[in-house]
Structures are given as structure tokens and as C-alpha cells.
Amino acid sequence: MNQRTKILMGSGIIVFAIAFLFISAFTSSGTSYSLQVDEAVYKIVYENAVDKKMRIEGRVLPGSISWNAKALELKFIMIPIKGSEQTQLPVVYNEVKPDNFEHPEAQIVVEGKFDGKVFKADTLLVKCPSKYEKKQQ
């Protein structure tokens, strides 16, 4: 066997190892659906998507925020960015309330699972906290 073949074989093994790592990471670490609020509500109601990881974009229904500081519990209702305020998803988040969260125009992203009653968010992000984004439109 000449050196060239050996090198090619060695490279092949490495590429194979990386590919294996890659596929196992992809299947084990889990993916989540990236959805708008209305799509998420549809999935929950019609496809019974309970305990499935989801990443949902939307905004907060004005006046729906309830915040218990002692228990660190933030409850609010999420509605679609565009479209009807009738499509509502109740969300619970057990962490500190992020900056800008109560901004009337804030778009938020939650990640978590619907547990049958409410959407339990593990993360809550406020998108584009800066005003320059929206003024450009």
C-alpha cells in the first residue's frame, strides 16, 4: 500500500468519525419546531403536540402579564405578531423577567414545551431590543 492510499484512508476514517459525531449529535440533542403562535396553537389543538420541543415567535397580549417576584414566576399570554388577538397561548416562565419584555412593540421568542395546560418556557428572548430596527421599516 503506498503512502497516498494510506493518507486517503486515514482522511476517510477522520471524515467518517466526524460524520458519525455529527449524526449522533443531530439525533440525540433534539431539534425543535420553529413556529409562529398561530402555527403552534394549531399544532397543539389539532396534532396534540404535547411535550414536544417548540420555539415560538410572537408578542405579548397587552395587559396579560402577571409577575410573582417572590416565586419568580412570569405568566402571560402570547399572541401572533400579525393576525388575530383571539389566537392565544398561555405561557409560564420561571426565571427573571428580561429587560424590554414589557415594551409594547417587543417581539418575543419562547422555547419550551406545552404540558397540556400551559406552555412552559425554558428560555424567553426579547428580539431586537433596540428601537433602530423598527424605525427603519
Partner: protein, 665 residues
Amino acid sequence: MDNLFLANVGSFALVLGFLISAYAVVAGIIAIRSNNPALSESVKGASIAIALTTTIAIVIMEVFLLSGQFAIQYVAHYTSSDLPLFYRFSALWAGNEGSLLLWAWILSIYSLAISLNNIVPRIKPIALTILNINNLFFLFLLSFISKPFVILNPPPVEGNGLNPLLQNPGMVIHPITVYLGYVGFAVPFAFAMAAVIAKYPGDEWIKVTRRWTVLAWLFLSLGNLTGMEWAYVELGWGGYWAWDPVENASFMPWLTGSAFLHSVMVQERKDMLKVWNIFLISITYVLTLFGTFLTRSGILSSVHAFADQSLGRYFLVFTVLALFGSLYLLIDRLNFLREGKEFESVFSKESSFLLNNLLLVGAAFATFWGTTFPLFSELVTGEKVTVGAPFFNTVNVPIFLAFILLMGICPLIAWRKASVSHILRNFTVPLFLALAVIIYLLVIGIRKPWAVASYFINFFVLFATLYEIFKGVKTRVKLTGENFVKALINLFVKNRRRYGGYIIHIGLVLIAIGITGSSLYDIEKNVTLTTNEKITIKNYTIEFKGLREVRMNNVDAVVADIDVYQDGKYLTRLNPSKNFYPNEPNPTSEVAIKGSLKEDLYVVLAGWENQDTAIFKIKVNPLIAWIWIGGYFLIFGTVFALWPGKGAEMGPRVISGLSLAKEAE
């Protein structure tokens, strides 16, 4: 001069720059085909003119920003009259139009430098034309799509002010370094393409563009590091890296750029891996464009993206053109890029570089896959599916550990064919030292498998690198009779390229140690405290003393007073706060950090209920300081290796303690 006139001059300069770039591209192509020296000369003139027009435009913009001319839309959007001068200056790259202007300016200056230098004359005109196509693209955007000099009528009395999150020194340096890095890769890319187009067999383009490549890499490294530091001290979530698409966008070209820096050494020495190198630099450059597309288009949901759909489209088109253009050229001319030599042994420096490349490109591919998966899954299945941080970590952590291990072994492996016994002998001491560290860590309770693996590899590589330096010094002392310190200095100064590289390696190891500690052993507590209430986190006791209102400059702040005790002894007072900027409906958190080399105590005032009740996020982040210290090593090592003059050239073929002695004889 009134604003209207100046703004028109700025706009006109950009359109003029666009037209001259168009001329420079056409004239450049004709000059290459017809070998017309007069025309080539005119392209040089065009380079000067383009640089002049962008300089005029950028100076006018800065004049507007610094003097607060709110009649200019850009100035009104990103500054206000109470903004400090420093941030008015940096507001140039706070928004789309200004960043593009900065980008175009850097590119035109780089192009000018290339045009005035007489390097690789056979392919330089082609490289310059490729750079001018880039100039053309950016000036097209600035002239017609994303105009910086839009006038507001009537002019507003006051501007919107700069986003408070951007009012941080890190955010001033971060964008400009990323741009310098991105644009810098255009130069080696242009020369690589020129070599392929001209079927120019030599590899001078690599030698000529090496400095550009390393500089671009340095800026990109700096850009990533300052971005991390900014996220850590300013965003208040306690971390520095979230595998956000925008972060990945500047991380991917860094990975492929690092691979390129190593694999070109193989071509320099051995005339091998030619196709691979051209592929790598093309991919790196395309990834910089792709990164810009990701950040500008808003196509992926990211926490910090610019929102301007149309600009993204243009970047996408340009990215696709650059990708397929370079791949087409590469495939079309494969046969002329025949390899000069073959691998002589599986166990050699060149094969270890190949392995290094596979790992880096593998990491880049995994990152790319994870970043763009939502897009492709939506195309294929109609549903946007995202992968989270666990995916990136699961793939990349093992790859990086292997990569770091290689970083320790590779420098000791000889070119062509290395001897296994020689290598093993060199590793005995570092191996024992690393084992000693691991035993110590196990005793103090660091037992998570990934932490142990990572520390073992990192300390082994650290000791192996230091040991290699130590041996070099010892040999030098023996040969020259210099004292130890002098020998150390001379060893470094005489082979700056090699030892600069070692310093960078040490920097990367320190960064990896910092990342391991802070990501595997961070502790977090979210608590609501009333005045004089205490809480304990690790060996810190935190006592909340109360809230007060403070007015500093233009900012109203609610400040929390917190007394920190470590092991029962008073340590310091921390003042996390929430700042209310004028014109901003929401406050911004200012993190308070008590840092040491061992760990950071990180306190965020998350909110309050009343005068006596406040909510805090408290974290202990171990070893985080080492990430920034490693960053300084990396910067110093790069500058040390790059600094022009003696010692910066390629060293002799083989340097190790023993062979150095032989060569001296």
C-alpha cells in the same frame, strides 16, 4: 456650506465611486486581454479615485455625526445631542448604511494598497479587477439601495440616540474588527482566483497575501473575542456565546481561515494541497459574504440582527455568484493545479496539517449545518426546524479537543517523515505534568468527564508547547553561551513566525481552559431579596443593602447596594443597576462583576417590586478571565509574528532542539 450641499457631495461621491469602479472593472478586463500598459495605468488611477470618493463620503458622514446634524436621517437615527463624542464617532457603524460605508471604505483602501504595490505582476491586474468587482458591489449598494445621506425635511430637533446596548467600548471595537477581518480575506481570495484564472503555477500569491491573511484572521479573532466580552458584560444573561446565527456567521470564516493559515504552510514548503488551499480561501471569503447576508437579511431569527430584507437579497446574490464563480474556476482548471509532491509518510507534519484542516472544516460544516438547518428544513418539509446549542456543543466540543491535542503534537512532528520514538521522548515530561494537574483537579472535586478530558488535553498541550520552547532555549544557551533570559528572547526574536505561532497556541489553550471552567462549572441563582436579606452562593454571602436612585450625566439609574462576603470576610461592595436612558422606554441592566483569575461573581439587578424588594440574578463563573487573557496572548503572538523586519520570514525547514544544534555545526 449647508447640510444639503454636503449631503449631496457625499451621495455624488458614492455614485462617482460606483461609476469609476465599473470603469475599473471593464478597463481591467480589457487591459488583461490586450496587454495594454496605458489602460493598466488608468486602472491604477481608478483605484486612487475610488479610495478618494469613499474617503470623502466617510469623512462627510463623520462630520455630520460629530456635529450632530439631525437633518441627516442616519445621524437622527443613531445619535442624539447628549451622546458622548466617542459614541457619536462610532455611530458610523451602528446601522446598515454606515457599516456598509465603512466596509466600502476599508475595501477601497485595501484595493489601493494592492494597486500601488508591485507584487506578482503577472496576476496582480486580475486580482485587482476581482477586488474592483467587490468595490463595484458595495458602491452599488451605497449609491442605490442603502443610501447613507438621506435628508429629513423638516429636520428633527433631536435624534433618537444610540442604542444603550451599543454604548460600550466592546461594541465599538467589535464591529470594526469583524469588518476589517471580513474585508481582509478579500485580498488573498482575489489573488487565489487570479492565480487560477491566469493558470499561474507559482505560489507567490500565498507568500504575498500571507500578511493580509494573518491580519484578517487576527481581526476576525479580535472581533469574535470582543463580541464575546461585550455579550458577557453588557447583555446580562451571564454567558458569552449562545450559538446564535450571527455569532456563527463570524465563527465559520474564522474556522476555515484558520485551516487556510495552516494548509498554506504545506504548499509553501512542499508544493502540495494547491487545490485544497484555493478551495479553503474561496470558502472563507464566501462565508464572510454569507455571514453578512445572514445578519442583514433577518432570514434567521436572531437576537441581534439588522432588519432590512432587500439588502440581504443583494448579499445572497453576490454570495452565490462568488461561490459558484470560484468553484467553477477551480474545477475548470483542476489539471493545471497538479501537486508538486506527494505525501511521503502518514506520520509527518504535512499529514498532521491535513488532519488539522479536516477537523476545522468539519467544525465549520457542522456549524453551518446547524445554523442553516431551519432554512433548509423549511424548504424541504415546509416546517422550520431549529437545532439548539446542545447540537453545536455535542459536535464541536470533541472536534475542538482533538484539534487542541493536535496543536500540541503537530509542532513537534518533522516535515516529510517523523520518528515516533523521538516524539514520544518529547512528550514524557508534558504528559507527567498534565497528569499531576489532573490528579490535583480530581482531588479538589473536578470530576465531570468532559472537564477532566478537556483539562488533561489542554494542560498537556500547554506543557508540551512550553517544554518545546524550554528545549530551544537550552540548546541556544549551550551553543551561544548566552544566559537563559537572553537566549529566550533571541530564540523568539530570530524565529518570530514560529514562536509567534506558539504564543497563539498558548492563547488558544488558555481560552479553552476558560471556556471549560465557565461552561461546566457555573452556578446560577435567581432570587428576590428584601433589604438586609442575605443569600449564599458557593462561598460567597451576598447582602442586599437597598436600592437608591442616582443621576449620572444623561442617565437615570436605579442602583442596588450589595455587600459581598467571601468565606465570611468582607470582600467588596457591588452596584448592579438598571439605567434609564433618555428616549428609551425600557431600562438597560448594568451588570456588576467582581472578577479574579479564579472566578467571576456576576450580579444582575433583574428588577424590583418596591423600595425594599429587588430581584437578582447571581452567577459564579469560574476561570472566565482566562478567556480574555488567552485573547491577549493570541493578539500579541500574531502581531509578534507579523511585525515586518528580520525574523518574520519562514524559518529553516527543521527546527527542534537537536536539529538546531546540528544546523549550527
